[in-house]
């Protein structure tokens, strides 16, 4: 393989990692609080707000029901407004983030739902404020579940980022399509696929390790 090809692959790999990292981090920053909000505003919960809860739920569901490839195109004006362009890794990171936020939120909500309600009750009996319940009970108790949610999200982002390549987003998906598919190069296609598989395996193992470490059940 030529060194030019090697550089292309390396650059594409770094682009993918960059897109996944930036969208993963930003989506976590918004998605985890949204997931907490979805949970604590449920009826009978510590900050019960049935109307707000239903509204948030509907918005989250809308976000989750739009196919990624359509979302990517549909929000191009928003992407342009935010990063100044609709092509490249930065532009691809915007729809990736938007898609990942409701995804993480629902997974986090599910993780919180696994917590024994007795623990919240115990904290309330000790005079804990809702904020203290969130930071000292809910989030620490759901840590394993949240790591699982983030791992699933990162893996999903890796495959979505490959889709972003189709519209000029850069990264391994872009490389695979342009060189592997359009130029009929099975080698490049194979290499991109192998790198993606290794990446997913790596993140999954890291996630599993973190889940194991935080689980004292």
């Amino acid at each position: 393989m030529s060194s030019a090809m090697f550089e292309l692959i390396l650059e594409a790999t770094l682009d993918t990692l960059y897109m996944v990292a930036i969208s993963g981090v930003i989506a976590a920053l918004f998605g985890i609080p949204l997931g907490v909000l979805l949970y604590v505003t449920r009826p009978q919960q510590i900050l019960a707000q049935p109307v707000a809860n239903r509204l948030l739920g509907v918005i989250t569901n809308i976000g989750r029901s739009i196919p990624f490839i359509i979302l990517m195109v549909a929000i191009i004006p928003f992407t342009r407004m935010l990063v100044g362009t609709s092509i490249g890794t930065n532009a691809a990171a915007v729809p990736l983030t938007i898609a990942a936020i409701p995804f993480i939120a629902r997974l986090v909500e599910g993780a919180l739902n696994e917590i024994n309600p007795g623990l919240v009750e115990a904290a309330q009996s000790m005079g804990a404020t809702p904020w203290q319940i969130i930071t000292k009970v809910l989030l620490p108790e759901a840590r394993g579940g949240i790591f699982t949610a983030l791992t699933v999200t990162v893996v999903t982002l890796i495959s979505y980022s490959a889709m972003a390549g189709a519209v000029g987003g850069g990264g391994l998906g872009d490389l695979g399509i342009r060189y592997g598919y359009n130029r009929f190069s099975p080698t490049v296609m194979l290499i991109t696929v192998v790198i993606l598989v290794v990446m997913v395996q790596g993140f999954q193992s890291l996630g599993d390790y973190l889940v194991r470490k935080s689980d004292h059940k």
Partner: protein, 384 residues
């Protein structure tokens, strides 16, 4: 000058407080006044039509627990025990009525003030409710963190508590590594961390085996004794009431139907439910074969079968042999049991009185005149 100095010794606190019935005799630590709780099927009761009845879990409950006492509330599942104990620290807010703990009306508080008041009320649960993500130490430290206490102070407070509950060697273990009894000990240490005046126990031993139950009850009694802590507990087990409570209330369908000193309750429950709890506890039911032969009305050739409950002096008096001598009645003992409850001894017996109708009537009068509780269960045909 002298009079002014003398004034310092006046009990000014007493004059500052409104007079309450009973307050002069003994300080009440927990007071529930006319507490009712209704659950509505569709959330809150705001602007609700009168037709929407809801489910009433508590009906006009009045409960007073004096300082330093262990008070038990016993009832079957679904009777409202859990709701009752949750109303004391307002985990459930009563629909009507008021709750006082240590002379503070909790029902008038909300938000921060309520949280402050809850620091003075510890609670333990049937399933322990320890945080799985925290070590034993950190679990006990939690209520202190919530109060904003500093790390060093927390350490000084937590370690002696773990000593008290006998878990000094488990400081850095996680709850999953502990047995049920050890988990409840951690929960007790956690409940005591904020130095509460009151401890609420929600079926605290129901998930434990009999041996561990005994040890946990022992610990609670110890804490009550050492710290003068007032304990309110709910349970469905007479064993718990018998071994640590001073007073007991019986709850049925959301109402307190009976309240008594534990000794009195075990010797002479006043309600049908009370008697059935006692009988289940003592397992003193007539044998099945006998029940089938029992007839309600006395026949021409039948003998009464009676349940005798005796306490106090009656236990040590040879009443049965006297009965035979003085009334000419033969007594066939079908079942008997003696229990000691606190400082009292309680004897129970199921017996068939064999004699003529007049003789047996006389025998029953004789027993009742000696302070025995006599209950005629029925009559059996004499074997001819």
């Amino acid at each position: 000058m002298a009079t002014r100095e003398g004034g310092l010794f006046l009990p000014t606190r007493c004059t500052a407080r409104p007079w309450r019935p009973g307050a002069l005799l003994v300080a009440q630590m927990i007071r529930l006044h006319n507490v009712s709780k209704t659950y509505y099927p569709h959330g809150r009761s705001r602007g609700r039509p009168a037709s929407d009845a809801g489910v009433t879990a508590l009906k006009s409950v009045d409960l007073h627990v004096p300082k330093g006492q262990i008070h038990g509330v016993i009832g079957l599942s679904g009777a409202g025990k859990s709701t009752l104990i949750r109303c004391v620290n307002l985990l459930e807010r009563p629909t009507t009525g008021s709750v006082f703990v240590d002379d503070q009306e909790l029902t008038s508080l909300s938000g921060q003030a309520l949280n402050q008041a809850r620091h003075r009320i510890g609670m333990i649960f049937q399933h322990f409710n320890l945080l799985t993500s925290r070590t034993v130490f950190a679990n006990v430290a939690l209520p202190l963190e919530l109060m904003g206490m500093k790390r060093g102070e927390i350490r000084e407070r937590v370690l002696p508590l773990l000593d008290l509950v006998g878990l000094a060697d488990k400081v850095s273990q996680y709850p999953a590594q502990l047995s049920g009894g050890q988990k409840q000990r951690v929960a007790i240490a956690r409940a005591l961390a904020s130095r509460p005046r009151v401890l609420l126990c929600d079926e605290a031993t129901s998930a434990l085996d009999p041996h561990t139950t005994g040890a946990i009850l022992e610990l609670l009694r110890d804490i009550n004794h050492k710290l003068g802590l007032t304990i309110l507990l709910i349970t469905h087990e007479m064993e718990v009431v018998k071994s640590i409570c001073h007073r007991v209330s019986l709850i049925s369908e959301g109402k307190l139907v009976e309240e008594a000193e534990v000794g009195d309750f075990f010797t002479a429950p006043r309600t049908h439910l009370g008697r059935s709890f006692l009988n289940d506890f003592l397992e003193l039911e007539p044998p099945r074969a006998l029940i089938e032969r029992l007839e309600e009305a006395p026949g021409e050739h039948s003998h009464p079968v009676v349940r005798l409950a005796f306490s106090g002096d009656a236990v040590s008096t040879p009443l049965i042999s006297r009965l035979a001598r003085e009334c000419g009645v033969d007594v066939s003992i079908l079942q008997a049991k003696v229990e000691s409850i606190q400082d009292r001894t309680l004897g129970l017996m199921i017996a068939e009185l064999m004699g003529t109708a007049d003789e047996t009537r006389e025998a029953i009068d004789y027993l009742e005149s000696h302070d025995l509780k006599v209950e005629v269960l029925g009559h059996v045909q004499r074997d001819v």
